[in-house]
Symmetry: C2
Subunit: 197 residues, 2 copies
């Protein structure tokens, strides 16, 4: 065995470089040499950890979506309130947050989404809200409606699906600068209000 290194840290470093390059100049700027330079390593190291450029970008997208999901989970965990409505708003806001890291991730994900058009492997990583998240959100909506005294209607899962679809769309708009985070928040608020009424 040779030098003991932290593989995870190495990969994270390389992926970080891919994110930066992409956000700065578009995904077409991402090349072996550029990533190597950005990460301050040699091309050889990249080849050592990834079998191809495709594999690198795939992993970068994978980690980006996982990071976004983590943001959502953090928002849920950090909501120091028992009000389901507050928690619901908090986790939806995660996608339109003005936080720089969020914007970075959304931008990269959008740039990589172009690849998903022709690469099914990439498309997988970008799928809409998964079952667990939908179930969680539907639960929040039901609880929030109950909290407000609205009568239940058993369509919470559909409502949840729409919520995430809308939040994603607004998140992209914010990332591309079409809307301010405040404007997006206003729209989301309006919709949530509608849902819970």
């Amino acid at each position: 065995m040779p030098k003991i290194v932290d593989h995870e840290a190495r990969r994270a470093r390389l992926v970080e470089a891919v994110w930066s390059l992409t956000v700065r100049g578009g995904i077409e700027q991402v090349s072996l040499r550029k990533v190597a330079e950005e990460a301050g390593v040699s091309m050889g190291q990249i080849q050592h950890y990834y079998s191809s450029m495709q594999a690198l970008i795939r992993d970068a997208l994978d980690r980006a979506t996982r990071a976004v999901n983590a943001t959502i989970e953090n928002a849920v965990a950090a909501a120091d309130t028992t009000s389901p409505e507050a928690v619901l708003r908090a986790c939806l806001y995660a996608l339109i947050s003005p936080a720089q890291e969020s914007t970075r991730l959304m931008r990269f994900a959008l740039a990589a989404a172009g690849r998903a058009v022709s690469d099914p492997t990439m498309a997988k990583a970008l799928a809409p809200a998964d079952d667990d998240l939908l179930t969680l959100t539907a639960g929040l909506i039901a609880a929030a409606r109950e909290e407000r005294g609205s009568e239940p209607r058993g369509e919470e899962r559909t409502d949840a699906d729409i919520c995430w679809s809308l939040a994603t769309s607004l998140g992209v708009d914010v990332a591309l600068g079409y809307r301010t985070p405040e404007a997006a928040e206003h729209l989301l608020d309006h919709h949530v209000e509608q849902i819970l009424r």
Copy 2:
């Protein structure tokens, strides 16, 4: 003056080739030579009509968005009904239509959207629903609510904005195969129902 040619037709042909190549193999497959081959012309012709590769792709995106808008307008015009609700649904459905041409356009637009991350010129062509469309849609919503006997509430513009945001998001999902057109339609229906209640 030399051979009289239809410039518009030439450009349309080249852009069509760009769309095809992109949808088939991703935008990274789009090169001068490939486009030339796909269109059955020489690289020289492309250079004659576009000052650079960037210009070609920009025009391709421009024409794609205009084509999508035309689809929406057609849907409005084709709705042989006076019911504003029916017209509203019809034009929203334009974005999630299962029609092959629609899917092609959406796919290309998504692939090109990746470029918008770093190219502001591209970003312009992809902006959310413009003022005119929003005004039109808000009018439809107000009329549909009146038709149903719901009381007006003066938030129709916000409602319209949300509608298009949601429809766009669903359109992307359909184009990438995450949802069937029917599933997307169901969600849209549910939302419109909510809006008009």
